[in-house]
Every structure is written in C-alpha cells, then in structure tokens.
C-alpha cells in the first residue's frame, strides 16, 4: 500500500517536473499540516541536465553538479540538514543546536529549542546510532506501533520521528502520534 502511494507520489513529482509546472503551480498537501502549500521541489530539488557556463570561468569541461546538503561522515544526514535549512527561526520554527553543536564536526548532540519552553520534549539526540542491542531500546523499532521508523544509515535523523509530508496526519508531522508517549515507546522500552 505504502509503495503504491510512494509510486503515485513519485509519478506526480516526475510528471510535474517534466512539464516544469510544479514550481509554478505548487502541489498542495493535506490541509492542516505545517508543510501544506510547499511545492514538492522546495524539498526535492531536481537534477538539471543543463546549466550555464559562468562568464568568468570559461572552459570546455562539463559543468559541475553541486551536491545538495553536502555532509561528511557521522553528521546529520542531508535530510536533517534540509529540515534545518528552513527551521531556522525565520522561515519556520527554530530547532537550535546547543552551543557547541556544529553539524559539520559533531554528532549525537541534542536537538533543543532555545528559549521556547513549549518544546516539551526538550531535547533528543539526533545523528546517533540506533543500537538495538542496548537494553533500553526496542529490538525492532517501530514494530510495536505497526509503522516503519526510518533510520537512515542506522541513525536517528529528523525523519525518524517526523514525516515531512504529513501523510499520517499526526500532530507535529510525527510519524507516530505521541499521545501517551506512543512515539517514544516505538524506540524505547521501559
């Protein structure tokens, strides 16, 4: 079922970009999600076959591709960096890194909201490995709630807890509702 939805979404995305219409007529998400109204290409940047040769960088070699959200070993992945690029306090609510968190140099530090007590969760490590051998963690994260928790490269990233498309319809774009700590309990055991 999920594959079908993904396939359909992808077809929409692909066709949209094929006709160059996505960015001019934004595909609208289900109402009520924080990301509604964002065009797919705001997050899914297309790869372009062509570019223009810089006047001051003449040459004949093929024009380069710039990697998106380039990252280095052990850091937040490109998906998390995508989130942080908008969640800066201006474009969208800030998720701030603690003082010494430099996403290019450290991993596993907490994500916390600076100056906003509203963010109840306070902080949670992001970029850390999900090591299922640890007693406090569930052997197969997500099975309890019947959903799949994405763990890119085996690590906790923003998409582990958040579904950027809001397809599940849970509060705060969560992959699992956190009522009665349900989200937490899909990865942790008491």
């Amino acid at each position: 079922m999920y594959e079908l939805i993904a396939l359909a979404l992808n077809a929409v995305l692909f066709l949209g970009m094929l006709y160059g219409s996505v960015q001019d007529h934004p595909v609208v998400f289900a109402a009520g999600t924080g990301h509604e109204g964002l065009a797919c290409t705001t997050c899914h940047h297309p790869h372009a076959p062509l570019g223009s040769r810089p006047e001051w960088q003449p040459g004949t070699e093929e024009l380069p591709h710039f990697p998106y959200y380039d990252y280095q070993v052990g850091m937040l992945d490109d998906g998390s960096r995508l989130c942080l690029s908008c969640h800066d306090g201006a474009i969208a609510p800030a998720i701030s890194m603690p003082e010494h968190m430099q996403i290019t140099s450290q991993i596993g530090r907490s994500v916390s909201e600076v100056g906003r007590p509203k963010y109840l969760m306070g902080s949670h490590p992001v970029g850390v490995r999900y090591d299922a051998r640890k007693a406090a963690l569930v052997r197969q994260p997500g099975l309890r709630a019947g959903v799949e928790i994405p763990l890119p490269d085996g690590r906790i990233q923003c998409v582990s807890c958040h579904d950027p498309h809001g397809t599940t319809g849970h509060e705060n774009l969560l992959v699992v509702s956190n009522r009665r700590s349900e989200l937490c309990l899909t990865c942790h055991q008491l």
Partner: protein, 390 residues
Amino acid sequence: MPVRTRRIAVPRAVRWGTFASMIGACAACAALVGCRAAAVRPEGGVASTQAAAVAPVFYPGPPARAHIVAIGPLTGHALAAKPPGKLRRAVTGETTGPALVSELLRPLSLTVRAGQILVVDVGRNAIVQIDPGTGEIRSVALKGMGEFFRPVAIATDGQGDLYVADAQAGRVIAVGSGNTVLRTYRLGDSAPFAPIDLAVSAERLYVVNRAGRRVEIFERDSGRYVGPFANSGPGRSAFPVGVALDGEGNVYVVDMAASRVRVYDPGGVLLRQIGAPGDRPGLLAQPRSVAVGPDGITYVSDAATQIVQMFRPPASLLMYFGGTGGTIGSMTMPAKVITDRTLLQTFASRLPAGFVPQYMIFVANQFGPGRIGVYAFGQVPPAGEEPTAP
C-alpha cells in the same frame, strides 16, 4: 528518480582530514579576526597544513582570473577583553545585558553600521556586534526591548538607523544611534505578520512577511503601512524569503519554492527572473538570500548547494564561490549575503597582495566552522599593470 541525492561523490576522508587540520589551526591562532595569520600571502603556494587553513582562497580558481578572494571567517574568538567573570556576573547581574559573547551560534542575518558588523544570532536570540578591527564581539541591548525580543533579520539605512525584524512578535523596529527604539512597524491587528527579511530605501521599508507569504511595503519615516508588494499576477512570488534593492530602487525577491529570484520595478512590475530549479551553475535549488553590489552584480546564496552565485543584469551567470570543500571560503548552509564598501579599509591589510578590491562581501552561515564568511570582490590586474589603490 528525481528526488534529492542521498549520497555524495566527494572523497570524504580526504576532506575530513583537511577540515580537522583546519580546526587545529584555528584553535592555535584563536581567530582570523584581526589575526595576522589571515594575511598569509598565496605566493609560493601552500607550504604547510597551517598555511593551508588560513591562506586566502581565490574564486574562480586558476587558470581563470580571480574576482573573489576569501580571507577567512569572521568569528568572535579573538576577544579584546574577557567575558565577565563569575564574581562580576554575581555582582552586576550581567547575564542578559550587553555582554561579551565568545562566539556566534546560529547567525541568520547581518548588516554593517559605523564600522561595526551587526549579526542576528538566533542561537543566542540576540543581536551581536563585532568590531572587525579589534575582533571584539558583544551582544547589543536595545533600550526598551525585553527578553521576549526574537530578532531574525537586520538592515541599515543610509543614515545609520537599524531595522530589526521580530518574526514571533510580528513587528519591525527602527533603532537610532543610541540603540533606542525610534518606531515600530506592524500590520493591522488581524493581519498575520511574521517579518523575516528587510530592505530599506530612502522612502520605503520592504518586509518579507512569512505569515502572509508576501512582501509588505511601509513608509520608512512615518511607519505607515502602504500595502503588499507585487502580490498578484503571474509574476507573484509564492514563497518569498529574502528581499534586496539595487541602486535604481528595483526590488529583488527570493522565491524559495520557485527556486528563482524575481526583479520588480518599484511599482511592482516584474522586470526579469534569475535562475531556475537545479543543481548546475546558473540554477538555484534553495535560494535563501539576495544582495546587489554597488556595480549591479546580484549575489544569491543557496542553502542546498551552499554556494553564492553572481549574476549580471539581466540574468547571466558570472561566477560562483563557496561550496563545501573545507577551505576558509567554504559555506555551511549560508543564509544572508550582503555587500559593503565601508569596511574596505579595515580589511585592506588582510587582503592578498596584488588583489585590487572593490567591495566586501559577508555571508552568514548557520553552521560550520566559520559562521561569517569574509570575501572581497575585485580583481588581480593582468601582469605588468600596477595595482591601484581602492
């Protein structure tokens, strides 16, 4: 499948090594602000890893003639004075007032006023002032603004007044020379207003309103709300995140969703568009900010590709700089880009010999080893020609 790249093709171990040596070098010399090491000349090539970390980086690289030189990040490590100690804090209660801060956490926006660089740091929830001459860095307390002040954008006008946007409280304030609040700009009670970027002309204040997904116009001196800017027709920007003005008063609006910069005349008529979605030179992925140099060159920062591209009117690509190579010119999720002529003298001694600068460029990076990237625009004169003073 036309979704984002998940993996990168750059040799990571190599870059990580360069990067680690960079941190080591920075820790040793404390900072590049006012630090002589930043002026290491490029002649003779790169001799050691330490030199590699601080030697200027030229864009475009050889054999093309360089027009941009990166001279290292401007950070606050080089404190001229020590932050208030425990005792002093206990006695004076100096925790929220104007205090020396040691470094920037998450700078989003910046401007230059009276020889000082003013940075909005959302990580500290503060305006931080950096003296590029001494490297002194301190937070700025605005009189009459309490702790509920959440600055996200900052700009200066020709008279030295500051304009600061507070997205959460829905207001822009004008701040005079004594750091006193002169005026407040707001929309009507019911209209949603979340200002996230600003541009000031002699008569107008242009404000990007995230909540309304449009640009608003205010009368600069009276604070009166004029109305939305270019808010209808096919040329409308659906997801504006940045705004800037050129010398003729034309308005440049960054539309993040459309991956374009749109240029309007002051009346809101669309003149031209810069960029299209993509990951090649001349294309934009997640454009974040725009600036127009005194020569009319348009600078566009891109949070996804982490470069700044330079276009000349109408929309041709001149070159690009930044990227993620782990050098002092690299960028990490760049936000605001500005150009400035007033600090040329301050930085002149740190520019490499033979480079004739025309103006400075500053880039606020949200993360990474160097939060404020310092660049100069100019050129290396062809061999045989005498370099002229700026």
